[in-house]
């Protein structure tokens, strides 16, 4: 019996090499901390307000209808009503005639869309340019595909005249960016509006990237999940609509961010068939179908928005209006206590400089952990306020480059933001009183 049980154990290394170096994940740790300690959670990016009523109603209508076949498989590459409306909607926005069957694919959230892109186009030894700070999954996904991530940072310029720093002040150095393109560069990942900074890339900045893509024959993976969350009258420009870019860009969107329903995990990719065909191959060999009912509801949501496009009742106009106000509240709260906010042009994230609060969390020389990560952990445990360290959005080698910033999510009810303000005010008072 003893030898059988010895034999029973798997004796050789089990996991595939593609998992090397990608097992750590900041969210697993920080979500657990927030669940355990936070009274006010401005950490992980999801709204604490519900999706709009019209969307919940769509879901209920789909479920209560006669057609119980909505509980069965739908078309693998996207539920027909959804791909049709996405083709219509994004065709308009991109100035392209889109075929719902070949130019659109539905995925399990934008996350799975990204995965399909890397698996379809990144081979071993391919380089992929990632702009820092970046949504953290890009790096491990490139690695899992056997590729080499090449990082290029957004660099902060000091704001003029004592005004608050804006995400627009964080910019790419054109020469530095150009130097990152090599013979081996397969793709560049663009995220605009950018998580975590909230930067909305300008036309000039996008043209810079586009020119390099065309010159070096590089694919652009454009993560545009926050496309509707743009403030101060700024315009979200889709890089796929720039000259020379349609044929080399895949544009990713998210129902979770568009309709404040992150838990439904419905995303999509729009692009030329020549690229989408390979994404379909990955998709049919990994998850194959996405859940039907959620796709039906999202389709109805888009149909409503198509009718109301540009009108004040459009959710795509109301949501950013509401969020801009919340952004401004949080900016005020942080500024009032001495945390220096970088005012975001878009997304529902805001990064703040916590240098003035450093005295609460002493530096530990030679610590492996970046300062901002220790700070964020201390803050959630001691102040009950959850946020994410900016170093989470940098590659290993660069985690200490900007280690005194933390990211807040402001897609929260007024009560939540007020509670955050109370914590911050109290904290400041404790610092200034004897």
């Amino acid at each position: 019996i003893l030898s059988l049980s010895l034999q029973a154990k798997m004796s050789r290394p089990m996991q595939a090499r593609r998992l090397e170096g990608i097992d750590k994940n900041i969210w697993v740790e920080f979500v657990k901390l927030a669940t355990t300690y936070s009274k006010v959670n401005l950490g992980q990016g999801f709204p604490d307000f519900p999706p709009p009523d019209f969307l919940k109603e769509s879901f209920v209508r789909a479920l209560s209808g006669e057609n119980h076949m909505l509980h069965q498989y739908t078309r693998a590459f996207g539920h027909p009503p959804l791909v049709k409306i996405l083709a219509q909607f994004f065709g308009k926005l991109l100035g392209q005639d889109l075929d719902p069957m070949t130019n659109v694919m539905v995925t399990v959230g934008a996350y799975q869309a990204l995965f399909c892109c890397f698996q379809a186009f990144v081979d071993e030894d391919d380089e992929v340019i990632i702009i820092e700070p970046f949504f953290d999954c890009y790096e491990p996904m490139v690695k899992m595909a056997g590729g080499t991530p090449v990082f290029v940072p957004l660099r902060p310029k000091a704001p003029k005249d004592g005004r608050l720093m804006s995400s627009a002040d964080w910019q790419l150095d054109p020469a530095e960016l150009a130097s990152k393109f090599s013979k081996r560069t397969k793709a560049i990942v663009l995220n605009s509006p950018n998580n975590p900074l909230g930067k909305v890339f300008s036309r000039g900045e996008l043209e810079l990237i586009a020119d390099l893509c065309v010159k070096h024959d590089v694919l652009c993976i454009s993560d545009e999940v926050y496309e509707w969350l743009v403030y101060d009258g700024k315009e979200h420009i889709r890089i796929a609509s720039l000259q020379g870019m349609w044929d080399r860009t895949v544009t990713i969107g998210s129902a979770g961010k568009t309709f404040s329903a992150t838990g439904w995990k419905v995303g999509w990719i729009v692009g030329p068939n020549r690229l989408l065909q390979h994404l379909r191959t990955v998709h049919q060999n990994s998850v194959y179908h996405c859940a039907t009912v959620a796709q039906e509801a999202v389709a109805q949501g888009f149909q409503r928005e198509l009718k109301l496009y540009g009108k004040p009742e459009s959710y795509f106009i109301q949501l950013p209006k509401e969020l801009q106000q919340k952004r401004d509240w949080l900016v005020q709260s942080l500024d009032a206590v001495g945390m220096k906010p970088i005012v975001p042009e878009g997304t529902y994230f805001l990064v703040a400089d916590i240098s003035e609060f450093k005295s609460d969390v002493p530096d530990v020389p030679n610590s492996e952990e970046p300062y901002d990560s220790r700070f964020a952990k201390w803050m959630v445990k001691n102040k009950g306020l959850a946020a994410i360290p900016l170093s989470a959005f940098y590659c290993g080698a660069h985690k200490n480059n900007y280690n005194h910033f933390i990211r807040f999510c402001f897609a929260k009810e007024e009560a939540t933001l007020k509670a955050a303000n109370d914590i911050l005010q109290k904290w400041k008072q404790e610092k200034t009183s004897p």
């Binding site: 034999q7 154990k9 798997m10 004796s11 050789r12 089990m14 996991q15 595939a16 090499r17 593609r18 998992l19 097992d23 969210w27 697993v28 979500v31 992980q44 999801f46 709204p47 519900p50 919940k56 479920l63 209560s64 119980h68 076949m69 509980h71 069965q72 498989y73 693998a76 399990v108 959230g109 996350y111 799975q112 698996q119 379809a120 999954c137 996904m141 595909a145 065309v214 024959d217 590089v218 020379g244 044929d247 080399r248 329903a261 992150t262 838990g263 439904w264 030329p272 390979h278 191959t281 049919q284 060999n285 990994s286 998850v287 194959y288 179908h289 996405c290 859940a291 039907t292 009912v293």
Partner: protein, 451 residues
């Protein structure tokens, strides 16, 4: 450009060359501005683009066709399952992200159900991963544990995704067919079995895993304890993993019992057991599945999951958790959906078998699952004039769809290259269909010989 031309115009021949260079560079730039991204797809997906379902679901999409092809129920899921989903979407926080590796109430419910079935403790947080359908579990398991240099044993006929998934992971599929005893005169799925010596020969030092599917799609075979022991012994001897696809675990008919290979001695440590909400609750469109196994294997699947789609939809997981709670409480009760569905399906199975027999066919009666295969060569339908270089069963099904308005799936879609000849006389029918669908099939089959 003008400046350049002026300053060089006294250089004669060289001017022409420079002009041409400048001109050609400007043409190149504007041409490359409109030129498509020239790179092709990655090596890992080379040759994996075709798919039997994409082909046949298109063909059978015509509503006038009686569709017994793709495996999806046209019966309604139980009403409490649908109600739980409606209830879940009304709760605000259930419309936002949940725990990445599985919604807490769902993994807890799964651990309860499977602890009871397996007779061992299952930790909901470390021993379970919730995935996008069983399909997603297969993908996560293969990506986590299989790579270039590995061999993976696949039993034919097989659910078609196993082969491309193994290839996408860079590994080599090694096929072994189920062979029919009784000289090919099979009446039931138990007649189909692996040759133990042949199976043993397929194992070597490179064998990383074997994929087991019981109850089996498409034959409906329910592997016996003895058959599982043969496989288990080889897994232990060769230190091999077992990926056990048990999506039809509840659909087992009288006289047969579903046995989990992970419960055999020495197997828990090396087995990933996969299940499906779609098959358990007749909700294939929910796309929720799960992998259950030891922490030291599941943790690698979790790494794949966190780097592929991160988290599954929340309201669906909550609804599924509630449904499992309902049925967990009545697992000793014949009214439990796991057993009542099986009884319902058994009578549909028997009806389907009778209909096929009346046409003069000899279907392989399945001991489990909701598929039935049948050798159609005995009908002697002459398809030699059909030009397509396709196997006979592909041609037969396409002919049957157009001329009889009845669809099925060709069995050679489920075979490796060497066995396609062996299985090309078989087609697969799905019988998890409402009475009116089976009535329509009955009309077609009864009138078969009249056209």
């Amino acid at each position: 450009m003008f400046f350049a031309l002026r300053s060089f115009c006294h250089l004669g021949i060289r001017t022409y060359q420079l002009q041409t260079d400048l001109l050609s560079r400007s043409i190149k730039h504007s041409a490359s501005a409109t030129m498509a991204f020239r790179h092709k797809n990655t090596r890992r997906i080379e040759g994996l683009d075709s798919n039997v379902w994409v082909e046949f679901t298109k063909v059978a999409a015509d509503p006038s066709i009686v569709n017994l092809g793709q495996g999806l129920p046209d019966i309604s899921p139980p009403s409490y399952v649908k109600e739980e989903l409606a209830k879940a979407t009304a709760v605000d926080r259930l419309n936002q992200y949940t725990r990445g590796f599985g919604h807490p109430s769902l993994v807890k419910a799964l651990s309860q159900v499977y602890e009871r079935v397996c007779g061992r403790k299952i930790d909901p947080l470390t021993d379970i991963l919730v995935t996008v359908g069983a399909y997603g579990s297969l993908f996560s398991a293969i990506q986590a544990l299989i790579e270039e240099g590995d061999e993976v044993i696949i039993i034919e006929p097989f659910y078609d995704c196993y082969e491309p998934m193994v290839k996408m992971a860079g590994a080599k599929p090694v096929f072994i067919p189920l062979r029919c005893k009784n000289d090919g005169n099979s009446t039931c799925s138990a007649d189909w079995a692996l040759d133990p010596a042949e199976l043993a020969n397929k194992f070597n030092s490179k064998t990383k895993a074997i994929i087991l599917n019981t109850p089996h799609n498409p034959t409906g075979k329910v592997f016996s304890r003895e058959e599982l022991q043969v496989i288990a012994d080889l897994c232990i001897k060769h230190d091999t993993l077992c990926i056990s696809d048990e999506v039809y675990e509840w659909m087992v008919y009288k006289g047969h019992k579903h046995i989990k290979i992970a419960t055999l001695p020495g197997m828990w440590e090396r087995t990933i057991t996969i299940g499906s909400a779609g098959k358990t609750y007749s909700v294939t469109g929910w796309k929720l599945g799960w992998s259950i196994g030891p922490q030291n294997l599941i943790k690698h699947l979790q790494v794949v999951h966190q780097n592929t789609l991160y988290v599954c939809p929340t309201p669906l997981q909550e609804a599924l958790a509630q449904a499992f709670c309902v049925d967990y409480k009545r697992m000793d009760d014949p009214g439990c959906y796991f057993y009542s569905l099986s009884r319902e399906l058994e009578s549909k199975r028997d009806r389907m078998a009778r209909l096929l027999q009346e046409v003069g066919l000899n279907p392989v009666i399945p001991d489990g699952g909701y598929f039935m295969i049948v050798d159609v060569s005995t009908l002697n339908v002459d398809l030699s004039d059909v030009d397509e270089k396709e196997p006979y069963d592909y041609k037969f099904v396409k002919w049957m769809i157009t001329s009889k308005k009845l669809s099925a799936i060709p069995l050679s879609a489920f075979c490796g290259p060497e066995t396609k000849r062996q299985f090309e006389k078989y087609i697969r029918f799905c019988f998890i269909k409402k009475d009116s669908t089976l009535d329509a099939a009955e009309v077609i089959l009864k009138n078969w010989n009249k056209q």
